[in-house]
């Protein structure tokens, strides 16, 4: 991965040479990205199944009853298998009951509450995932959704608790503030890439750190603190600025879910029906060709980041104006990073991202029940998510495990495996 080696394809650069400084590194990253985005739906499902199976093994291994039974495996192997089965089955049943439907609940509302929790958790994941997906399709690895969510939450939260405005207008302004906050933060990375060719991966990662410390600092200032309290928690957001509850006060589900659906439709329209979206995709498939075709590539870099950041900022508003109702240092949890997985799993398409967001929301929501009912460590949920990414990133591996045909027909497997090697050699 040395930048000194000349890039394999090197057509004469346009007038804006700085943006192309690290083409060798970047074209390879984009190749990997394209590979992930073009794998079939079957591979996605298979990756999920594989991830659940391997996590099942880990759940069993972490279970104390299984460990005990393994100690006398040869004396009574049945114990071992039944303990392992109980651990895995119990954990996954709890996961389902915590994420979809809980038949043991006292009331009907309680029984369907898990599903609404899944929807609540999915809102920031879908919104931020949509933004990242646009970036991926435009060939930009934006790792900065975490920081953009935080900035969106800071802006929206401040407008929400510090200003006093009539209903509707207050919410609207707070949401717009959040979108601007996220957009500006991402815009920094887009501007630097367009003007100086700074790698957006590195810039966005660094901006994440700045955002995390920025929110921590702001919560110690009197503008964001609650009265005399030293706790790093903002005052609660005013009622007028909150997303209305969709199903009444016993559910946390709020209007943000509808906003996420509308945002998905908007992104579909933007990417598939608008000129701007066409330009984004053109830049993503081949920036040089796009430039030759008269597209201002640098301007597109900036615009892509502004739109992506705006969507991530909107995810921040869903957190601060909907789910949490206060600004805390952990308002973004790990949504910004999970959203990368969501976007990859959804192959950067709006519909795919929507369902991937729901799935990850379900994993989050179900994780709580899994932990409290079966004592399964919450980290297992993270492992499932990580394994999904791992397998999505390695389609040939998944195809080999499930003996799926390669997309290029039989016999293409070796060529596909050899392709990266050829690229290495060329580089």
């Amino acid at each position: 991965m040395s930048q000194a080696t000349p890039a394999p394809e090197q057509p004469p650069a346009g007038s804006t040479a700085p943006a192309r400084r690290d083409d060798g590194l970047e074209s390879r990253a984009q190749g990997a990205l394209r590979e992930m985005l073009t794998s079939s739906w079957l591979v996605t499902v298979a990756a999920l199944v594989l991830a659940l199976v391997i996590s099942g093994v880990l759940i069993a291994a972490a279970d104390s009853a299984v460990q005990d039974a393994a100690g006398y495996f040869f004396a009574r192997p049945a114990d071992f298998f039944s303990a392992a089965w109980n651990a895995v089955w119990g954990a996954y049943v709890a996961l389902f009951q915590g994420a979809v439907f809980d038949p043991g609940a006292a009331t009907f509302a309680r029984a369907i509450r898990p599903l609404t929790e899944t929807m609540t958790w999915s809102v920031p994941l879908i919104l931020a995932g949509l933004g990242l997906g646009i970036g991926f399709r435009a060939g930009m690895f934006n790792i900065g959704a975490q920081g953009q969510i935080i900035l969106g939450a800071i802006f929206a939260g401040y407008i929400g608790f510090a200003w006093d405005l009539p209903p509707v207008l207050h919410l609207l302004l707070a949401v717009i503030g959040g979108v601007i906050g996220g957009g500006l933060w991402a815009g920094i990375a887009g501007y630097l890439k367009a003007r100086t060719g700074a790698n957006e991966v590195i810039v966005t990662i660094m901006l994440n750190n700045i955002a995390i410390y920025l929110v921590g600092y702001l919560l110690t200032t009197s503008a964001f603190k609650r009265g005399d309290s030293n706790n790093p928690v903002s005052p609660p957001v005013a009622g007028n600025a909150l997303y209305p509850q969709l199903l009444g006060s016993q559910f946390r589900l709020h209007l943000g879910f509808v906003v996420a659906i509308l945002a998905a439709v908007f992104v579909w329209w933007l990417m598939n029906r608008s000129t701007l979206g066409f330009a984004f995709r053109a830049v993503g498939s081949n920036p040089n060709a796009a430039r030759t075709a008269g597209i201002n590539v640098n301007r597109m870099y900036l615009l892509v980041m502004l739109v992506a950041g705006g969507l991530a900022g909107m995810a921040g508003t869903a957190q601060v104006l909907g789910t949490e109702k206060v600004l805390t240092a952990g308002i973004a949890a790990s949504f910004g990073f999970d959203a990368i997985t969501v976007a990859l799993l959804g192959r950067s398409k709006p519909l795919g991202t929507f369902f991937a967001g729901l799935l990850f929301g379900a994993l989050r929501a179900g994780g709580f029940a899994m932990q409290s009912r079966t004592g399964t460590p919450i980290d297992i949920v993270l492992v499932v998510q990580s394994l999904v990414v791992l397998f999505i990133a390695a389609p040939p591996l998944v195809r080999a495990v499930f003996r799926l045909p390669s997309p290029r027909g039989p016999g293409a497997q070796p060529a596909e495996l050899a392709a990266p090697v050829v690229k290495e050699a060329a580089a």
Binding site: D79, N231, V233, P235, A333, Q371
Partner: protein, 363 residues
């Protein structure tokens, strides 16, 4: 290479197989016996984002609950949070599981615990390190939620006095992990204790790392990275500090490493008696500011399981030994008798109420 891998795999398999040769336990039907004989009381606990293995207050709380479960024969459920966003779902999931008592560890859970207590009047709650406030940030009491608070500054005050009394360089230091009330309360007391020593003895011992008036000072930024603690402590040692109190959970161990490397620098531990909990550094632990969270949790669970839960705040003080300073152990001969007598006097004054140690972070 392949051979090595094969050999390793084979020996691993053999080890596993041997380990699996234990004899099966007798079938028994005592599922209803044993620990569950006590009661069907269910005590539950939610950690803050540090998790239960933070070598700090989450861990102390969990140990208290474990002890209660074992000694009182009650059922326990502990759930960890990975971020602030996890608190509400975690508490809700415990309510759904019919927990009788739900304990939140850390002031960050104030809002979620309060909301849950209001929504579930038949479940009892407890919250470590914070009281409850209404929408105007005025203190409020709830019938079914008990704050567990600690006047940590009183013990830190004594530790500050001892630190100033043993310092030969005339400079001591303290730093925190993140600037939170439960952290700066230690630092406030420490600074005041040093000032008291200066006043009583006409000395001029300086404190690095915390300005009580301005409420600003040195923080490493998290409760995980020991290297930061080591670097910060090294900086203090370079400036002449020879007693350091790190209020940063495991990050403090980094400071202990720096102190050990430097030689004649000692450490004031926090939360537990570090002489016992960190044997690697026992020879440099001057004393520790102890905060008996585990005991408070145990007592709360015991009361609640006996049906005598009260929402009256528990306040750990020097008087009820909810806080205290640890014995000097190896430093017993180093701390002068004058200092020891003075500390006993101050302790008596604080217990009697003649001396009030104040901290803005006190609830």
């Amino acid at each position: 290479m392949k051979k090595i891998i094969r050999a390793a795999a084979l020996s691993g398999a053999v080890a596993l197989a041997l380990a699996a040769c234990g004899s099966a336990p007798e079938e028994s039907d005592d599922t209803a016996g044993g620990g569950e004989a006590g009661s069907d009381f269910k005590a539950c606990m939610v950690s803050d984002s540090g998790g239960f293995e933070d070598k700090s207050f989450n861990q102390s709380g969990a140990e208290g609950l474990d002890r209660a479960a074992e000694e009182l024969g009650i059922e326990e459920v502990k759930v960890e949070s990975t971020a602030e966003t996890d608190f509400t779902p975690n508490i809700d999931s415990l309510v759904q599981q019919d927990c009788n008592l739900i304990i939140g560890v850390g002031f960050l859970l104030e809002d979620p615990i309060q909301a849950a207590a209001e929504a579930n009047p038949d479940v009892e709650f407890a919250l470590i390190d914070s009281a409850f406030t209404d929408e105007n940030f005025e203190p409020v009491t709830l019938d079914n939620a008990k704050p567990l608070l600690f006047n940590t500054q009183e013990a830190a005050y004594l530790a500050g006095y001892v630190a100033a009394g043993t310092s030969t360089t005339g400079t001591v230091a303290t730093f925190g992990g993140i600037q939170l009330p439960s952290v700066s309360i230690f630092m406030d007391g420490f600074v005041d204790g040093v000032a008291k020593y200066n006043e009583d003895n006409g000395a001029d011992v300086q404190v690095l790392g915390w300005d009580k008036e301005a409420q600003t000072g040195s923080f490493t930024g998290d409760f995980e990275n020991q290297t930061n603690g080591q670097n910060l402590a090294t900086g203090f040692i370079d400036q002449g500090a020879d007693v350091i109190m790190p209020v940063a959970g495991p990050v403090g161990l980094g400071a202990a490493a720096a102190a050990q490397e430097a030689g004649d620098v000692s450490i004031v531990g926090v939360d537990a008696d570090w002489f016992e909990t960190s044997p690697d550094y026992s020879s440099i632990i001057l004393t520790s500011v102890m905060k008996e969270i585990g005991q408070a949790v145990y007592d709360t669970v015991k009361e609640a399981s006996a049906g005598s839960f009260s929402s009256e705040p528990y306040v750990g003080t020097l008087e009820n030994e909810g806080i205290g300073i640890a014995p000097f152990h190896d430093f017993d001969s180093v701390v002068t008798d004058e200092v020891k007598t003075a500390v006993e006097d101050l302790k008596a004054q604080i217990v009697s109420g003649d001396l009030v140690v104040e901290s803005i972070s006190q609830n």
